[in-house]
Every structure is written in C-alpha cells, then in structure tokens.
Subunit: 172 residues, 2 copies
DNA sequence: CCTCACTTGTTCAAGTTTCAAGGAGATGGC
DNA sequence: GCCATCTCCTTGAAACTTGAACAAGTGAGG
C-alpha cells in the first residue's frame, strides 16, 4: 500500500537490502527452492507422492494409534484444512490413509494411517533420509548445522500463525 | 528402490538422523514453509501475484532493456520452461509483461517488462523488502546472517541441476 | 431449552504446477 | 542440399493449491 517516502511507516522500514543482505537472500531463495524441488522429485519418483503428502504420513505414523484429527494434522503440517482435506482424499484413494469418525465430536474426523500406508513409509523412508543427508547434513560442518538449527528456530518463531498473534487479535 | 538391509547401498547410508539432526531438519522445514507462505500471502495481497511471479518481474527489471529470453529467465528463476510459459501468459494478461520475437532466432521469445509491470514493482517492492527484513534480517545477528549465507551457498552448490552433474553424466 | 457465536471439515471454482507431447526452427555431418 | 538431431517454447490434461462459502455440530449464556 504505502509506497512513498512520507508514507505511514517510518522511512527506516523502507530501506533497501544491502548488497550483502541481497546476496544472503538470494542464496537462501536459491538453496531452499532447489532443495524442495529435489526432495519433491525424489519422493514423487520413489514413493509416488509429493513431499508434503509424505510428511502427512510421517505425522500419522508418529501419532498415538497412528491417527490424528484433521485439524491437528493440518496444524502439524502447517497447511490449511482445505488443503489437507484434498490431500487425505488422495491418500485415501491410494489406500494409505483411512478416515474414521470421531466418537466424541460428531463433526470430527480422524485420519488413520493404514498398514499399507505404513508399509510405503517403511519402504521409502531410508531413501528419503539419505536424500536429506546428502543434500544437507553431509555438506555442513557441525557448527554450521548447529547454527542452521538456531537460525531456523528464530525465523519460525517469528512467523508462528497462532502463538505469536493470539494476544494481538486486533491485528487481524 | 532398495529397501532391505542388504540393499545395493552400504548400510551406513541408511542410518537414521540423530535426534539433533531431526530437530534441525524440522526447524528448517517449519521455518522455510512458514516464510514462503508468509511472503506468498503478502505479495498476493499487495501485488496480486504469487512470490514466484514477483521474482520473474524482478528478474526482468534487472536485465538489460528489461527483457530476457524465456530460457534465461527460467534458469534464473529455477523453474521449468513450461511453468514459465504459463506464468508469462498470466502476467501478459495482467499487462505486466509482453512477449517479443527474437530477431536472430525465430524460435526465441523475449519476455519484456512493460511500464505498467515496472510500476507494480516500484509500488510493491518496498513492502516486500520490509516483509523480508522483518521476517529474517531483523531477527538474526550479523554472525547468523553471515552463517546463513554460507550455509545456503553450500547447499545450493550441491544441488545445481547442471553445473554440478555435468561432469558425472552417468549418474543420470 | 434456545440462541448466537464459534469450530470442524468439506466443497466449489479459480488459479497454479507438472508432465508428456509436439510444432517449429537451428545445427552439423555427409 | 538433406537428414537426423537438438533446442526453444508452447500446449493440454491431470494433479495440486487456494480462498470463500457452506452444512453440521458444539457450547456458553441467558
């Protein structure tokens, strides 16, 4: 919206990125794009699904009784309920997930990992881990790995959809 | 492919991630997902296009005569030609980009940033830079910024589609 | 009870991305 | 010149994502 020098926001907020910051930002964009594409293709090829769908199966596999309410799964995967609904429909068609009604809340649905889904995971997880290891961990020193973890934690913390904004409801 | 203990690859390659590595990997996934979603919504709201499309306009704005061959633009943005073709079609419909034939190669097309497209960029760039700054740079110490740049450069280097694999053609 | 506000999950339509296929032009050997 | 082959870019269909709208259910306060 605001775009001129005397806009509502202080001028300091409109300052450009320094050359160094631009360089860092470009590297970030470049690397994250390449890595996501790489893993997406790896999983599409080896497991027949995109990375995000794989993450859903992992989420279910780690949950008690291998099931999670739709909303919980959506939050854990950081996607909208709508997107999850479509995704589960597809995974259900594959036979890897099954829906179950929630007895205590008639609106609720559980997404349940089937044995077949678990099997897919068991079969493809090693290859996926290898891909992550080769692309990331094998290339970074222990110090860099530690730094990366800290940095990403800070960034994520600043963007939490709920926790951070919950006490400032008037902002949205 | 391989999935049992005595598979073609050495057992060492199948070792799981340590707890620490898993923590780092989760933070990475979490942060990059949130940041991309955040910027995508910011640009969809303020500029009426997804982040990647915005990046295409920036690429054109920085090019000599504000134009680039389709293939060059696709490489710079790290997307397929097909995807670019669809994207440019949409941006053309918005009046922000125009196609021009290449005189020296009749197969070739230039994507050219229109004045209107440049204007959109001029109007929305400050807000975008602010979003990046707030989400990333304002939260990291100078040392962390430096580390992030180095890490991302290393990761990107290992995933270059062409440069890196070109001398190992038998791998793909 | 009843009602109003909220939550849960789905659906629809529009937009985006992917993949395979293909038209058209360039290139290089013969 | 001619042919096979490669490159440039587009196309179409299927898969995936998004945001708004919605039906159904919950729950707190009267």
């Amino acid at each position: 919206m605001g775009h001129m020098n005397t806009a509502p926001e202080p001028a300091a907020r409109h300052r450009w990125l320094t050359d160094e910051e631009q360089r860092i930002w470009r590297s970030y964009r470049h690397a994250t794009t390449l890595l996501e594409d790489h893993l997406d293709r790896q999983l599409q090829r080896d497991a027949g699904m995109p990375h995000i769908y794989y993450g859903l199966l992992v989420g279910l596999a780690e949950a008690p009784r291998r099931r999670l309410r739709m909303t919980e799964l959506a939050m854990q995967a950081k996607i909208t309920r709508s997107r999850l609904s479509h995704a589960i429909a597809r995974l259900e068609k594959n036979g890897w997930v099954r829906r179950e009604d929630c007895p205590s809340d008639k609106r609720g649905q559980f997404a349940v990992l089937t044995d077949e889904g678990f099997e897919v995971l068991r079969r493809t997880a090693p290859g996926h881990v290898t891909a992550v290891r080769q692309a990331l961990f094998e290339r970074l020193s222990p110090e860099q790995q530690k730094a990366l973890g800290e940095i990403m934690e800070i960034v994520a913390e600043g963007l939490q959809p709920e926790e951070a904004g919950a006490d400032l409801p008037w902002l949205r």
